[in-house]
Symmetry: C2
Subunit: 394 residues, 2 copies
């Protein structure tokens, strides 16, 4: 049958990352491609234990349907955590558990976006946010962005002239894909502009807990006086991504709408997964666990930066992330990162070309390097390989 | 802030069921409201065991990101099962795992529906399918339906004159909310009409394995010569709903599009949940487990029908389902089931008024009875209470 798909389907392409990930399943491949956490740090034994305890204590309740909003003890923990780390003032009622923070992006599109509405984003921005929003027929305006975040004067100019601006989507901490962190001033300025123009801000913060150096800066939400900022979070980077548990936090008036669309989308998150995470948080020291992750990633970041400094040829620049999982590399303008990838894949090294992080295209001379998933020696080996390819091409 | 939500939000209301479910969390309430399986039949000890084995065998792989399509051994099992039970010819590649079959409904809307497209459905139909599709701005045409399924001549008339018919949505086995089962002839006729008019059929089959009597009839898919039928399935009713694992099966050309939209929606299903179900299916006898469920539900169905026959006043009619979880009650035209519910809730008995199962409204004199979740004595007690209220009102 010749299926007649919805119009939106002509806009959607397979995520380049997930396609590359299929290649990188081969063990011999050194992959800088995915945003995969280091699996050797997952608390496997502890999870066995919490599964046993949850099933003993809760029995069949852990396997039954539950509310769309999610398991209350877990939502309470999240509210408390956010309040202490991000200077927010949330209660459990402000939190909806979602199927990873990816689902919170999809639900955001459903709740806010009509066809032709505009999403403002950093340039570049998180690739899978582009797909999630694009499915609702929006346009993207990339706000000129430097190492400190969106440039306020440019943002104002855009907000001034963009009638249908609905969402400003940003990742202020260790951004995906660039690894950049917004300055305090820029955070405050962004929220001021959003309040003035009454545009919703989606503050996506999957990596905030993974800071290697310096002080944690106040969240965008902490400057919000009108309720315009909605916060996304996830357990994927601090616990395990396979559980698919994330959240959205915000004003009750907005969260209620999210609950409605989640009901239609998939009823609720996995019941026992929610309970197991809550039990883990009760029985174990998550801060100690996160400190372990930070240590390992910091070392990987260090060796990555050092190797890039030593090996990458002149004309290649890159970010030096203070946390998170990613660094961003810019090649001389005439080099296409897809060509580099093609050669590197033959040598069993993978990364993601940067072009698809720009919703309106361009900047094919960029690439994203994930440093969380590979041990240090393979990071060195893989980067040396990329450097060799770059030297030949430049 | 005065949020400017998307237009679709004005169409969405909270699921009446999930709102009533909040009331029924009180233990003293006898609930015929949810579609909740009997929790005492969940294989709690077996799940403890498979969790332990999966984490020992797979380690951190069970907690890491995986492919959007889902865990291959589980997709293979599903294909094999469907082929043997439903006379289909699926391979693993035809299957996408979804976050419950509810997500497969949502993804179907995203893949196929533009604003103004038409979904044809049974009258009444599954309430949460209405919400899932409605979020994509479609219209609903309810096809006149009797005890054997949609009436073919009426369906043809509608297809003839409905230019933008995109999806025919049906639940041929023990339908939700009526408990009706389609006859063989009607199944064949529906698929013929769908093939002729080139409309996609979504065959939702969450209850098919729960047949109490008679022979399993061939699926709609078994009559499909063009690939127009897409099949939804779930482990929610045969295993545990809390796992949120369901699937969609169909032509690769369609499934590929579903994979694309699932990437944007939530990347993938819970990794360990997929592996645990696969391991359970490998180690334990699911047929024996399902037979146990059938036994219990059959007895509950029997006592429900008997009590309704004995207690319900004249002028009240109801279905006698051959399987599944639900029966459908029709009251005299002047009685509004919402009024009945209001009185019953005060007596700690709950059910779902039937009105919201009609996407275009009407038939407020109907209600749905779930018989899977309460033990036999409480079924009798609850139905006697409803009967008493009805006698007073009629």
């Amino acid at each position: 049958m010749d299926f007649k798909f919805a119009k939106r389907m002509s806009q959607l392409r397979a995520s380049e990352i997930r396609e590359i990930l299929k290649v990188t399943e081969r063990l011999e491949v050194i992959s800088f491609a995915g945003g995969l956490p280091a699996p050797e740090l997952f608390p496997v034994e502890e999870i066995k234990e919490v599964n046993r305890i949850v099933l003993s204590e809760e029995g069949s309740k852990a396997l039954q349907y539950t509310t769309t909003e999610g398991y209350t003890p877990l939502r309470e923990w999240i509210a408390k955590r956010m309040n202490s780390k991000l200077r927010t003032q949330f209660a459990a009622d402000n939190i909806l558990l979602t199927h990873g923070s990816q689902q919170a992006l999809d639900l955001s599109g459903k709740v806010f976006l009509d066809e032709g509405d505009v999403v403002l984003c950093e340039s570049p921005t998180y690739l899978a946010a582009i797909s999630a929003f694009r499915a609702y027929g929006c346009e993207f305006v990339e706000v000129p962005t430097d190492d400190d975040g969106m440039i306020p004067s440019e943002l104002e100019k855009i907000l001034e002239k963009t009638e249908r601006a609905k969402i400003i989507y940003v990742i202020p901490e260790f951004q995906n894909p660039t690894g950049r962190t917004w300055s305090l001033e820029r955070r405050e300025q962004l929220v001021k502009a959003a309040m003035k123009y009454e545009v919703v801000v989606i503050e996506d913060n999957p990596y905030g807990e993974l800071r290697f150096e310096g002080e944690t800066l106040p969240s965008l939400k902490s400057f919000d006086k009108t309720g315009c900022v909605l916060c996304l979070g996830t357990f994927s980077k601090t616990f395990c991504p396979g559980y698919r548990i994330g959240w959205i936090a915000g004003e009750k008036g907005a969260i209620e709408k999210y609950v409605l669309v989640k009901q239609g989308a998939d009823l609720q998150c996995n019941t026992i997964a929610q309970m197991e995470i809550a039990k883990y948080l009760e029985l174990y020291d998550i801060d100690k666990h996160i400190e372990k992750i930070r240590e390992v990633y910091r070392k990987r970041r260090d060796i990555m930066v050092k190797t890039m400094e030593e090996e990458f040829p002149e004309g290649v620049t890159f970010t030096r992330p203070k946390g998170g999982l990613f660094a961003w590399v810019e090649l001389p303008a005439h080099i296409n990162a897809r060509d580099v990838l093609e050669i590197c894949l033959k040598k069993n090294v993978a990364f993601v070309p940067g072009g698809s992080f720009f919703p309106n295209g361009g900047k094919e001379n960029t690439l994203r390097i994930n440093f969380s998933n590979m041990p240090e020696d393979r990071i060195v080996e893989g980067l040396k390989c990329i450097a060799g390819v770059l030297r030949e091409l430049i």
